[in-house]
Amino acid sequence: MEQRIRLRDGAFSYGDHEIFSGLNLDIAPGEVLSILGPNGCGKTTLLRCLAGALKLKNGTILLNEKDITTFNTIELARNIGFVFQDHTMSFPYSVLEVVSMGRAPYLGRFASPSAKDISFAESALSKVGMLHIKDKPYTEISGGEIQLILIARTLAQEPQVIMFDEPTSHLDFKNQALCLNIINKLAEQGISMIMTTHNPNHALLFPNTVAMMNNGKFITIGKADEVVTENTLKEIYGIDVKVFSVPDPNGKGKLKMVTPWFKNPPELN
Amino acid sequence: MKNRLPGKIKWCIGLCSMLIALSLVAASCTNTTITATTTTTSKTATSSTLTTARTSPTTITASTTLTSTPSTTTPATSTVLTIVNGTTTQTYTIMQLKALEAVTGYGTAKSNAGVITGPDTYVGVRLTTLLKAAGGMTSSQSITITARDGSTEDLSYTQIYQGTVNTYTLTGSTASAGAQPFVSLIYSMNGNVLDATNGPIETGIITESDRASDASLWLKMTDEIQVHSAIRTVVDSTGATITIPWTVNRIADAWHANNEIVMLLGGASKLVATTTVVQGLPWFVKLDPAIAKIPAPFTSTAGQVNLEMLIATNPDVLLCSAGSFNAATMAQFAAANIPVVQMPAATFTDLQSTVNITAQVIGPKAQTVAADYISYLNGNIQEVTAVTSPIPASQRPTVLHTSQYLVLSTDGANSLIDAWINYAGGVDVASATVTGNQKAITAEQIAAWNPSIVIVGTAPNGTNVQAIMNDPQWSSTNAVKNKQVYANPTGVYLWDRYSAEEALQILWAAKLLWPTKFTNIDISQETKGFYSEFFHYQLTDADVAAILSGSAPPS
C-alpha cells in the first residue's frame, strides 16, 4: 500500500550532538500520527525533518514514494503544510489576507492571489468555521481563533500532509479539544496529520497512531489504545500513571485518560 | 779581655761623633742660605722687569705670559663691550677688561648636528663679575647679548648664576658637569687674541676639560649685554594682559590666516607649531618649506588641538583668533603654562589690530614691518576709496562672492568680503538679506538677485568658473551672460579671506569692478613688489599669473 510518508533509519545531529537515530515510520493517507514524548526527546526536530525543513544526517524520507530531498521549496509547500508552535504577529493583516498567503506555492514570483485563489482561501476558512471573521484584523482575535486561522492557511496550500508542532500549547482547555477535533475531522478528508505532543491525554483523545519517543528513540509505535499504557508512559516520563477508561456517552467505545499518581510524593528539599 | 777601654778613648769617640753631626747640620744650613739668596735675586730681577712693562697693578698668575703683539686691529682704547642695566651703561676697552679679575678654563662647543669643537683654553672675565660691576641682576630678569653682526643670545638668571646649562661628554652624550659651568666674556683663546671673525670678545661657557656645552650658547663678536626684565606683557583683543617671555623665540599659531601674518612680519623662523591647513597651502610651503616640517597640533576643525603635541613643541606663546577655544581648552593651556594671545577677525580694522598685536609678540623688528604694512594697506584703501566712495549705490555693479561651486553659498553683511566689495566700488548682492560668512543659498535666490559680477574664491578656481559658466541654473544671470565670472586670486593665503594679502585684494577688486577708473593699477607689479618687500621672495611672471588665477605654483 502506498504510504504518504516513509521514514527509514532516520538520524539527525546538531554538530556532534545526536538528536535521534535509527527511526522508522510509515504514515498512510488520512492517518493521524501523534508523536508523544517529553520535552527534549527530539520530536520537534523529527517533525521538521519530516517536513523537509531540516536534512537528515542518515536515512531517507520518502514523500509519496519519492525521496524528499528531491523536492524543491515550492513542491514541498504544495504537499506539506506546517503549523508552527509559535507565531509572532507583526502587522494587522485581515484574516482573509493571512489565509490567502497559503496560496503562495501556486503563485508566480511576481503574482498576487487571483479571485480563484481568494475563493480557495475562503473555503479553507469555512472548513475551520472561521469564515465569519474573514475581514477582521487577525491581531484582534482570540488565541484559539488564531490557531484555526493558521490551520486554514495550511489548508489553502492544498497539502497532502499537515504537520503540527505542539498545536495545543497556547490554547485553553476548550480550544485544545476543539483544535484536536478539527485535526481529526480534516484527516477524515484524506489529509495525513502528524502532530507532536507531550500530553498523553491528547494522544488518546481520538483514534490514531501514536509513536512514543524518548531520548531520540521510538520505544513503541502503534494504535493509541494499544501502546499508551502505564508501562510505556512510565518508561518515557519516569513517573507512575494510571490509565483508565469510561464508556463514551455517544456509545461508540470508550473515553480513555491518563492521570499521574505518586507512590511516594517527592518532598521539598 | 776585660771590657775596659780607657776613659780617654771613650771621650774621643764621643767628641768626634758630635763634631761630625754638627758639621752636617752646618753644611745644610749653609746651602739653604745660598738658595734663598739666589731666589731673592731672581725674584727681584723679575719684578723689576714686570714693573717696567705694566702700567697698572695686577695680580700675577704663574702661567700668565704675554708673548707677541695682539693681532686684532682694535685700538687698545676703543670700546669692545657695553653693559646696559636699566639706566646704568658701562663700557669697557680691552685693557679695562683685562684689568678685571681674569679667569681661565676650558671650553668645548657642541653644535646641533653634534660636531664637537674643542677643548680649547680660554681666558676672559666672568659675566657675573661684569654684572656685579653694573649693579647686579635679580632672578626676575634676564639678559640679551648682542653681537656685532646683529645676532643675539638670551641667558636666564639660573643659567648665569646657577650654571643650569646642558653639558655633554666630548663624544656628544649628555653628562652632568662636575664643576659648575659659568659664562665668560672671552678675549683670549689658546693663548692668542681673538681674530675679527670671533672677537675681540666672545661669549662662551667654561666647563671642565672633558665637558662640552651647546654651541648656541656661544656668541662670537659679542658687542653688548643688556639686562632687562625676563618677561613683558601684551594686551590682546579681549583686553586681557598676557605675560610672555622678553624674547619670543617659539611661536605656536592656531589661526590659519595668522600664520601668513607671522611670515610677513619676519617671524616665520620662530614658528614651532602650525595647522594642517597651512601645511596644505602650496604657495605657503613654496615660500617657507620649513612650515611643512614642524608639528601641526591644529587641524581644520576649529577649537580642536592635540594638546600633547603642542606642549612638546615648548612654545613661548600661542596665537589664535578671539574665542576660537572654549573655556576648558583655555584652562588646559594655562595649566601647561602656555600664554595665549587672542586677536580679532572680523573687519579691516581688526586686521590692522591683529597685525599690530602679532608684531608686538614677535619683537621690535617686527613692529617696524607692521607699521610699513599697515601704511601700505591703508594707503591702498585710501587710494581706492578716494575714487569709489563718490559712486552712488545705483551705479555700483552687483557682486556675488561665493567660495565654491558644489555648495551654493555666499558672504553677506558684516563680513570682510562685504567690506572689500564696498571699497572696490561694488555692492554685495547678498548683504541686504544675508549676514555673515558662507551662508547656503538657493539657486532660485541667485537667479533672483541676478548679479552682474560673480567672484569665486578657493581652489580649484579655474574649474569652478567653468562649471558656473556652463550651469543652466546660473545661465540667466548677467554675470554669466556677459562672461563676468572671475576666479579670486590665491597666494600664500586666500586673498579674499582675512589674509595679509587683503592689501592686494582691494586693488585687484577695484580694478576688476572699475577698470577704466583704475588704469594706474598694475596688479602683477603690485604683487611682485609686495612679495619682494614683505616676503623677500622674487616672483616670476609665471608665478604671478598662477597666483592671480588662484592656481597652485607652476611646477
Binding site: 521549496t73 514541498l76 496550500q157 | 590659519h256 581644520s300 558644489l406 539657486a443 533672483a448 581652489a459
Partner: protein
C-alpha cells in the same frame, strides 16, 4: 483598493507638484508661470525675462521632480524594509547605505571632485556599504534578520567614523562646510542631468518592489513560516535589498541624507490602507512624494537661505512619529 483611493493617490501628488512651481522667493504672477510652462509644449511669444524662465524651467521644475522621486523612493524602501524585517521601526538606512554614501560624497568633496564624480562616488559607496553588510550577515547560506540589522549597525558606524575623519582634515574655508551641508541633505543642486540618472534607477527599483509586494506579506510572517509556504526567502530578501539599495543610494547621491521620510511615511500609509503591501507600497510612494515636495517648498521659500532638508524632515518627522506612537499606544493597528 477602491478606485477612489487610487485616483486620489495619483492626482494629489500631481496637483501638489503643479502648485509647487508657483511657490518660491522670486515673485511671479501665476499667468506668467503658466505661459512659461505652456511655451515648452506650444509656441508662445516670449514676453518674460530669462530670469523667470530659468527659475521655472531650470530651477523649480527639476527640483520639484527630484523631491517627489526621492520622497517616493525613500518611502517605498522604508515600507519594504519594515515588512522584510517585520519591524515598524526600521528605516531604509538600516543596512548602512546612507552612512556609506555619505562617506563617498565626503571623500569626493575632499578630493575636489565635480558633481558627477560626487554623485557616482556616493552611489558606489552606498552600494558597497550594503554589500559589506550583507556579506557580514551571511550565515550558512542564510541572512537572518538579526544578523542583517547588527551588521548594518556596524557598517554604518564604521563609515560614520570615516566621515568624521574626512571632516577633520578638510580645509575649513570651503570643503568642510560643503561636506557638512551635503550631509544634511538638500535639493538645491537638482538639475536635469542629475535627474536623468536618478529617475530611471528609482523607477526601476520601485517597480521591482511593487512586483513582489504580495510576497512581502508572506515574508513578513517570518522566514520559517514563509519558507513553509514555498517562498524562497533568501532570494526574495536579496531582491528586496538590491531594489531598495539602488533606490536609496541614487537618492542619497543627488540629495544627500534625508532622514525620517522612510520611517514615518509607511506608518501613515498603514493608517490609511492597512498593512497589505500590495496597497501599502504605492500609497507610501504617493504620500512620500507629496510630503517631501511640501517640505522642500518650505525649505526653499521660508528664508533667503537654503534650509537643509534633513533638518526639516527631522523637525517635522520626529514629533509626528511621537504622536503616532502615542495614538497607537505601541500597537500597530
Amino acid at each position: 483598493m477602491s478606485k477612489k483611493k487610487i485616483i486620489i493617490l495619483i492626482v494629489i501628488p500631481l496637483l501638489v507638484f503643479y502648485v509647487s512651481l508657483f511657490v518660491g522667493r522670486y515673485m511671479m504672477d501665476p499667468i506668467t508661470v503658466l505661459r512659461i510652462l505652456l511655451s515648452k509644449i506650444v509656441p508662445i511669444t516670449h514676453n518674460w525675462s530669462s530670469t523667470a524662465e530659468v527659475i521655472i524651467i531650470q530651477i523649480r521644475f527639476p527640483r520639484a521632480v527630484l523631491a517627489m522621486f526621492v520622497g517616493a523612493g525613500l518611502s517605498i524602501s522604508g515600507s519594504a524594509y519594515q515588512g522584510m524585517f517585520r519591524n515598524p521601526l526600521v528605516s531604509p538606512d538600516i543596512l548602512g547605505v546612507s552612512a556609506a554614501a555619505g562617506f563617498g560624497a565626503a571623500l569626493a568633496i575632499l578630493l575636489s571632485a565635480n558633481i558627477w564624480e560626487l554623485q557616482l562616488a556616493a552611489f558606489a559607496f552606498g552600494v558597497l556599504g550594503v554589500t559589506l553588510t550583507y556579506m557580514i550577515a551571511r550565515v550558512y547560506k542564510t541572512t537572518p534578520t538579526l544578523m542583517l540589522v547588527l551588521a548594518g549597525v556596524v557598517v554604518a558606524a564604521f563609515f560614520s567614523a570615516l566621515v568624521s575623519g574626512v571632516k577633520l582634515i578638510a580645509d575649513p574655508e570651503a570643503k568642510l562646510p560643503a561636506i557638512t551641508y551635503w550631509l544634511l541633505g538638500s535639493f538645491n543642486r537638482a538639475t536635469y542631468k542629475s535627474l536623468f540618472t536618478v529617475i530611471p534607477i528609482i523607477t526601476l527599483g520601485s517597480i521591482g518592489l511593487m512586483l513582489v509586494s504580495w510576497r512581502l506579506n508572506v515574508l513578513s510572517m517570518g522566514d520559517d513560516e514563509a519558507r513553509s509556504m514555498g517562498v524562497k526567502t533568501e532570494s526574495l530578501k536579496l531582491f528586496i535589498i538590491v531594489c531598495t539599495t539602488l533606490i536609496t543610494a541614487s537618492a542619497v547621491s543627488v540629495s544627500g541624507i534625508v532622514g525620517w521620510v522612510g520611517l514615518v511615511i509607511p506608518h501613515v500609509g498603514r493608517m490609511i490602507v492597512g498593512p497589505n503591501h500590495r496597497w501599502l507600497l504605492p500609497t507610501s510612494m504617493a504620500l512620500g512624494a507629496v510630503f517631501l515636495l511640501v517640505v522642500d517648498d518650505i525649505a526653499r521659500t521660508a528664508t533667503p537661505l537654503d534650509i537643509p532638508i534633513g533638518i526639516l524632515t527631522g523637525l517635522i518627522g520626529a514629533p509626528f512619529f511621537a504622536y503616532l506612537l502615542r495614538r497607537t499606544k505601541g500597537g500597530w493597528k
